[in-house]
Subunit: 203 residues, 2 copies
Amino acid sequence: MLKVYHAPNTRSIRVLWLLEELGVPYDKETVEFNPAYLQSPKHLAIHPLGKVPAIDDEGLILNESGAIVQYILAKHAGSHLEPKLGTPAYGKYLQWLHFAEATVMPPIGQIVQHSFRKPKEERIPAVVDDAKATLAKLFKLLDHELEGRDYICGETFTAADIMLGYDLNLCKLIQVSFDEYPNLSAYFERLSARPAFKRATVK
Amino acid sequence: MLKVYHAPNTRSIRVLWLLEELGVPYDKETVEFNPAYLQSPKHLAIHPLGKVPAIDDEGLILNESGAIVQYILAKHAGSHLEPKLGTPAYGKYLQWLHFAEATVMPPIGQIVQHSFRKPKEERIPAVVDDAKATLAKLFKLLDHELEGRDYICGETFTAADIMLGYDLNLCKLIQVSFDEYPNLSAYFERLSARPAFKRATVK
C-alpha cells in the first residue's frame, strides 16, 4: 500500500488531501518533526534532505510534493481532478499548480525560517518584511483571479486547489493574514470545508 | 505561432531550450529586462507579476516555467522527453522536474536578490551565506545522484535535465561554483554542449 511520511502542518498535507479526495487507501506514518529525527539515517533514506513529505509506493520513493501530486494523479485515475491533457485549460491548471509552490512558497518559507525555525539571534526581520510584501502582491493577484470563481481553474475543484489551499492553510497557521482579500478568504473557507481537507489536517 | 517572451539569462531559457529540442517553431520576443518595462501595462498584461517567461499560445497566456514546459510537452508531442505517464520512471522524472524549481531555485533567487538586484544598502550578506550553504547540500545530493549516469533520470535526456540545466547555467553566471562536484560538473558540460542549449542561450 502507498505509504506517506507525514508531519502535521507540512506539505505532506497536500498528499494526504489528494489521496482523501481520490479515495485511494494509504498508510500514514507521522514522523517526529525535529532535527534529530529528520537528520537520522532512517529518515535520510526516505528523504535525503531531511524533510517531508515522502512517499514509498512499492519501493519507489518520491519527495517533492508537486511531483507526488502529479504522480498520484497519473497513476491512480485522478483525471477528474485535472483538465484534459494538452488543452488550454490544462495549461492554466499547470500554471496554478506550479505557482503554488514555485512562486507562493518561497516567501512563506522565509517567514517560517526567520520567525520560527532559526535560532533567535539568526532571525532577520528585514527578510520577513520583504516576504510579507511579496505575499501581499500574490494575495492581490489571487484575489483578482478568483473574482466570480469558486476554484482557481473555474467552477471545478482541481489538484491546483490542493496545492494552493495548503499555502493558505500555512499562512493561517503562521498568522500571515489574507482576511482583507474577500475572494481569497471565501476561497479558503470553501476549500477548508471539504471533508477530505478536514481528514488530511487532523493531527 | 507560439510566442515566447524572453530575457537573456532568465527562466525563459528553459522554454526556448525545450522548443529547440522538440523542433517546434516559435516566435521569440526579447523584452527589456528592467523594472520600468517589466512593470509597464504592456508587460503586466502578459505577466501580472512583471517577470519572464511568458508564452502566448493562440491567446492562452502562461507564466510559470515548469507549467510551460509541461504544457508544451503535452501539446506538442514531446513524449520522447518524458518517461511513460504513470510509471515509476515518470514519478522520478517529475521529482527532478519539480526539484529544479521548488528546491534549487529559492536559494539561487536569494543570492541574485542580495548580491545583484537589491539596492546595495538593502543587501544582507547573511542571506547569501545561508543560500550558498543550502546550495552546497543540493550540489552534493545531485553529484551523488549523477554517479554513473549521463542524465538525471538515467541514460536518457528528459525535460527534467532542461529544468536543472538552467539552474546550473545560472549558478555559473552568478559565480556560484560547482566545479568541486565532478559528476555535476560533467553533467553540465554534457547539457551545455547540446545544440538546442546553445541556440536557447544565444543572446
